[in-house]
Structure formats: C-alpha cells, structure tokens
C-alpha cells in the first residue's frame, strides 16, 4: 500500500502534474471514462436527490446506500463472480428491501420514521459487514476489492462498471425530464395531485426506484458510507440561489457533477485516496460558499437586509419620538435636545446620534446648535408613522380585545410594516373613531388636511 506522505517533495508535485496532464489529454481511455462516469453520476444523483430533499426525506439516500451492502455481498457469495451486472442486481434488490422496511415500520408499528431509518441503515450495514468479513476470511477466489465499495475508489473502477453507470444515469436523467411535471406535482402538492387523478402511488414508487438506482450505481465511485452527501448537499446548496424548481435541479446537477469530477480526479491521481470523502469535501465547500455568498438568500445578504431593516426602524422610531414631543408641546415648539428625545425613548445616546445623522442626511431633520427640527418632509413621514401606529392600536383594541398596554407593543412593530392599502382598510373598518386607545388623536396626512394634524 502506497503511503501518502505530505506533498513537500518537488518530484512528487511533478509527478502529479504529469498525471494531471495525462488525465486531461484524454489519452488514458479509462481515466476519461471515469471522468464521464463521475460527471453523469454527480448530475443524476443530485437531481434525483433534490426530489427526496424537497419531499422532506433527506437522509433516505443514506439508509438506502447502506442497505445495498448486504445485497452486493450476497450476490457475490451466491454467484461467485464479480460481474458488474450481478453486483448491481444484488445491490438493487437489497436496497429495495431496505426501502420497503423504512416505509413499513412507521406505518405498522410505533417506531418513528427517523428511528426506522437508523434501524434499517445500521442493521443492513452490519449484515453487509458481517458477510464481507465472512468472505474475506474464506477461501473464495477474486474476493479482493469488495471492501472498496465502502468509501469508493475511482481507480479500481472497471470499464464494465462504467458502462452500467452511463446507462443507468442516462435512464435516470431521461426519466426526470420525461416525468418532470408529475414529479413536481407530487412533490409540492400531493393532495392536489390525487384529486387530479394522477396515480400518486405509482410516481412515488418510480421516484423511489430512481433514488435506489442512483445510489446503487454510485457505490463504486462514492462508496456506501457517504452516498448520502451527494444526494443531499447539492440541492441544499442550490436552494440558496433560487426557488424555481427547474433552476434548482440544474444548479444541483451542476454542483454534483463538478464535485464528483473533482473527487474522482484526486482519487485517480493518488490511488491511496478514497474518492467519496473528497467528493463530499468539495461539495461541502460549494455548500458553504452558497450559504454565505448567494445573492438572494445567502448569509451575507440576509445579514445586510437585517441591518438595513434595523437602521430603518431606528430612524422611524426617532422620527416618531420627535413627533410625540411636538404633540406634547401643542405644536408650538419644534426644536428638541438630545435629552428630550432620550427621555421619551430608551436608546443609547451614541445610537441616537448616528441615527440623527442619518436623518439629517435624508433631509428629514435639521440641526441648529444641538437642537433638532423636523423638516417638512420629516414631519410628513412622522405623521404617516404615528397615524399607522395609532390606527393599528385602535384596530387591535376594538377587534382583538387587547388591553392598551398590549396594543402598544404590537403597534410598535406594525407601524414599520403597514402599507397604504392596509392603512385605508383599517380606516374603513374603524369608521370615524379618530382617537387611539390611550386617548391621543390619530393624525391625518397633510395632503388631506394639514390643519387637521395640527389641531
């Protein structure tokens, strides 16, 4: 066994370089086939895994892959050969049995779905390992290499394996394209599909068989233990980029293909390296990048949105406080100090100062010698907010029977969210009740009655 010491040796880098060159010159037929196989596998597994994920059965693939192991061993024991077809059929059979068990247990006993998954996974895997250790301690011919199924070994793959792989993955991809509409329907709205008369059971079975197929065919490349990741991680990463199913599938397929190719290449160059783990690591990197940087739902974007919202809420709160001060002084005085503002709203003085600076930038507030004024536009905005706040308060106290203390906190949030249509709706509901539960008047917008607001 080749020990894979760290690559500090110059000659080793050269060796890797030449191997890479060989790989990409497509002279080595086997290497090219492995590349094509892994691309196809990554694509089909992530596409079919997407449906499992969306139907909330993310770890089904994990259990099914583990469940394939005893079938492989039994097939070898019974036939005595390592033909790709025989192994494939054995794996398929025991994976399907595993699927049936996972389905049957929660329906007929009090075992919960997650436990059913774990039970099937570990029992079948133990059975597979027991048979494997039995085979290895026996005198059977050509028994070596069966253990490569556990973590996958791209270098140990045969042309025959690849042919089956290409065939099966093509069938899977073709089936997904053909039945795309039906799969989408039963994934997102099973009940509706039933009322339409779609044979839901049949398509669910078909999906399950496709999942089993892609798991079984990937064993050689990815291995039993980590098959779960190639079904699950690509779609989880893709979800940060889009909500459109077709886009999701294409993205997931792309991610899967990319990392499968990467992993198989690493393992092909350094034969001591198992393929599966490298595929999973590169997939996880893609996931992490999507999680953080995706433009629509990434962490950075959401953090940014959150910060903007906080800033807006803070600005609006200060505006409303200025309005309240104005109201207290019977609209006679329109210049207030920091101390006056903080007396009405609990806010740290530093935060208040930055917020006031932002407000001045937007020309809602002006500052003269430490005193702050509401401008015309600022007043307009403040009236709008106060109006929404008080409308919501009186709406709640009339229709939801909440005390005046409770309504204030609700309104404190709603004032930032309500839009014009909702505002009009509430006005219509409240008829002419123009005071909030605390007895303060609900101001009118200046366009309709400027003097009304300053009454």
């Amino acid at each position: 066994m080749q020990t894979f010491t760290l690559l500090n040796d110059h000659s080793q880098w050269q060796q890797i370089g030449s191997q890479l060159a060989l790989f990409w010159s497509f002279e080595d037929i086997n290497a090219t086939w492995v590349l094509i196989g892994s691309l196809l596998l990554g694509m089909s597994a992530s596409v079919i895994g997407a449906f499992a994920f969306l139907r909330r059965r993310s770890l089904l693939g994990d259990a099914l892959a583990h469940a394939a192991l005893p079938g492989v061993m039994m097939a070898f024991l019974l036939s005595g050969s390592r033909d790709a077809e025989i192994i494939f059929i054995g794996a398929l059979a025991s994976s399907l049995i595993g699927f049936w068990v996972i389905d049957w247990l929660p329906k007929n006993t009090k075992i919960k779905p997650d436990a059913a998954l774990a039970i099937t996974l570990s029992f079948f895997f133990a059975l597979g390992l027991m048979l494997l250790s039995y085979i290895q301690s026996s005198e059977l011919p050509n028994k070596s290499g069966l253990d490569k199924l556990l973590f996958g070994q791209a270098a140990a793959i045969t042309a025959e394996d690849i042919h089956i792989l290409v065939m099966v993955t093509s069938v899977i991809l073709f089936a997904v394209i053909l039945f795309f509409q039906k799969f989408r329907l039963i994934t997102f709205n099973r009940l509706y599909a039933q009322t339409l008369g779609v044979p839901v059971k049949f398509y669910e079975m078909l999906l399950a068989v496709l999942i089993v197929l892609s798991v079984v065919v990937g064993l050689q490349l990815v291995g039993v233990v980590l098959m779960a990741a190639i079904l699950l991680t690509p779609i989880a990463a893709a979800r940060f980029w889009s909500h459109q199913l077709s886009t999701l599938l294409i993205l997931a397929g792309l991610f899967g293909a990319l990392s499968a190719a990467l992993g198989s290449q690493i393992s092909y160059i350094a034969p001591a390296m198992p393929t599966g783990p490298w595929i999973v690591v590169s997939l996880s990197m893609l996931f992490l990048m999507s999680f953080v940087f995706a433009p629509k739902h990434g962490l950075l974007k959401r953090y940014n949105d959150y910060r903007n919202l906080r800033r807006r809420v803070m600005q609006e709160n200060v505006l409303r406080t200025l309005y309240k001060l104005l109201e207290r002084n019977h609209f006679q005085q329109n210049d207030f100090t920091l101390a006056q503002i903080t007396s009405l709203r609990s806010i740290s003085s530093q935060q208040l100062q930055t917020t006031l600076k932002q407000l001045i930038q937007r020309h809602w507030v002006e500052e003269v010698q430490q005193h702050f004024y509401l401008t015309e536009a600022g007043l307009h905005k403040a009236i709008k907010l106060t109006r929404r706040h008080r409308l919501w308060e009186s709406y709640l106290s009339q229709h939801a029977d909440l005390s005046s203390e409770q309504v204030h906190h609700q309104a404190e949030k709603m004032e930032h969210i309500l839009n014009k249509d909702q505002e009009e709706q509430i006005v219509a509901e409240l008829m002419q009740h123009l005071a909030d539960p605390h007895g303060k008047p609900i101001p009118q917008l200046p366009e309709t009655a400027t003097s009304g607001a300053k009454r």
Partner: protein, 310 residues
Amino acid sequence: MNEMLNGFIDQWALDLWILATASLVAASCAMVGVFLILRRQALMGDAISHSVLLGIVLAYLISGTNSLWVMLIGAVIIGLITAWLAETLHKTSRLQTDASIGIVFTLFFSIGVILVSLYTGQIDLDQECVLYGEIAFVPFDTLIFGDLESGTDIGPRAFWMILLVFLIVTLGIWIGFERFKTVTFHPSLAISLGISLTFWHYFLMTLVSLTTVASFDAVGAILVVALLIIPAASAYLLAKSLKAMLWLAILYSQAAVWIGYGISYWLDSSIAASIGVSAGLLFVLTISALQMQKAVQQNDYKRKIQAGEL
C-alpha cells in the same frame, strides 16, 4: 499437560476480555439509545458516531498521544460541535433538521477518513478499523500500571475506557433520571419548571459522544449506530415505562452480544458486525411476535363480533 491447560486458560481469558468489553459497550449504547429513540434523535446518534472519527484523529494529531483522556475529550468536543452546528445550520439556513445533520456529519466523517488516509503510516488507525473496530485485538492493547518494564498488566485499554464511560453514563442517567424524564416526555412542563432543555440536550449529546468514542476501538464508527438504536427500539416496542425500557434495552443488548459472539465463532466473521446483526435479528423477532399477536387478537375480535358476543 500443564502447558496445554495454561494455553487453554489464556484463550479463555482472551474471550472473557472480549465479551466483557462487548457487553459493556452494548449496555452503555443501549442506555443512551433509549433517550435518543424517545427524543426522536436517532439520526443525531448516527451523526455523532460518524463525526467522532474526526475527533479521534484530530486529538491524536494535535496531542501526539492516544491516551485515554485525550481521546475522550476530543470526541466530546467534536460531538458537541456536530450537535451545535447541525442545530445552528437548521436555524440560520432554514434547512430541515435531518438535512442539516446529514450535511454536517458527512463532511466531518469525510475529513476524518481523508486524514486517516493521509497519515495512515503514522496513526494507529486505518479505514478497516474505522468500520469494524478491532474487538478481536482488544486484549492485546493493554494498559500497564506503573512503568513500562516492571509495571503490572491490568488488562485491555479498551475495556478500562468503556468501563469508565459505562460508569459515567450510568451515573449520569441515575442522577438526572427525573430531569431526563420530564425533558423527554414533557418538554413544556420542563420549561415551566425552569429545567434547561438546552443543558439536558447537550448533556445527552455528551453521553452519546463518550459512548461512541469508547465503543470505537471495539466496534468501529458505524456499527455503534446499530447498538445505539436497535436494542433501544426493540425495548421501545415492549416497554410501558421509562425504567422498564432501560432495563429491556440492556437485556436486548446483552442477548445481542452473546448471540453475536456465537455467530462470529460459527461463521468466522467479524465479532462487531455479528453483534450488530444479532441485535437486528432480535428486533425482527420482536416485531414478528407483536405482529402475530396483533393478528391473533384481530381474528379473535372478528370471531367474537360474528358470534355476536361484542
């Protein structure tokens, strides 16, 4: 004659060590597994047992020794990180719980396997051992009390490790029994009583990590799941109370060890895998018995209804 007897006793002592280790492993796993099943966190057990590999490898690479405490601490840290990361991912990215668990543990396990392959010459671990464990070799890796030359051999390392963990687990469950019960069956009551759900969740995860790392030498990373989940699930089918479930799970696990040992002797197969298989067989047996009982009952009712007795 005397020599033969001595050889016989040696062989017998080896078997005894193996059986003692295996039954302690199985009992600890069964007890922890009961709570995993009841709290519907079976998959968390699966996840932690996988990622513990990374903990062991990292602890070994960083500290340079494979002493008992280093392994235990490494495993507990990585186990808690797994639990925490899966939960955080679930919360911040709105992924389903099982999906986030799956993403985290496959990554950790992969890194672990890659590290094992990279340092295969320097680490006393290989891919095989990760999968099967090496319970058959457990008796040869012994702890020596005192210095290396003159000290007394006090028995296998794995045995002492699992004994320690077994004691911790038993003590933990014994002391926290009432709390665990409330948290498991009545989380909302627990909150109103001021019991911290988070604390007990992570306490359970700590116990799971400890159990898996101690079982690692003996049965490998993945078969631990079989011992964690299957005996507890069998007990879940029969038990009517938490105490009964704990005892039944221990009983099932011990039966699995004995039957598994027999199977491995008969087939010359891996002991750990055979124990896992026999746990599964006992589960299948229990299910069949229950299904049969159900069928008989249904027939009975049917007859009674037809005869007009009900």
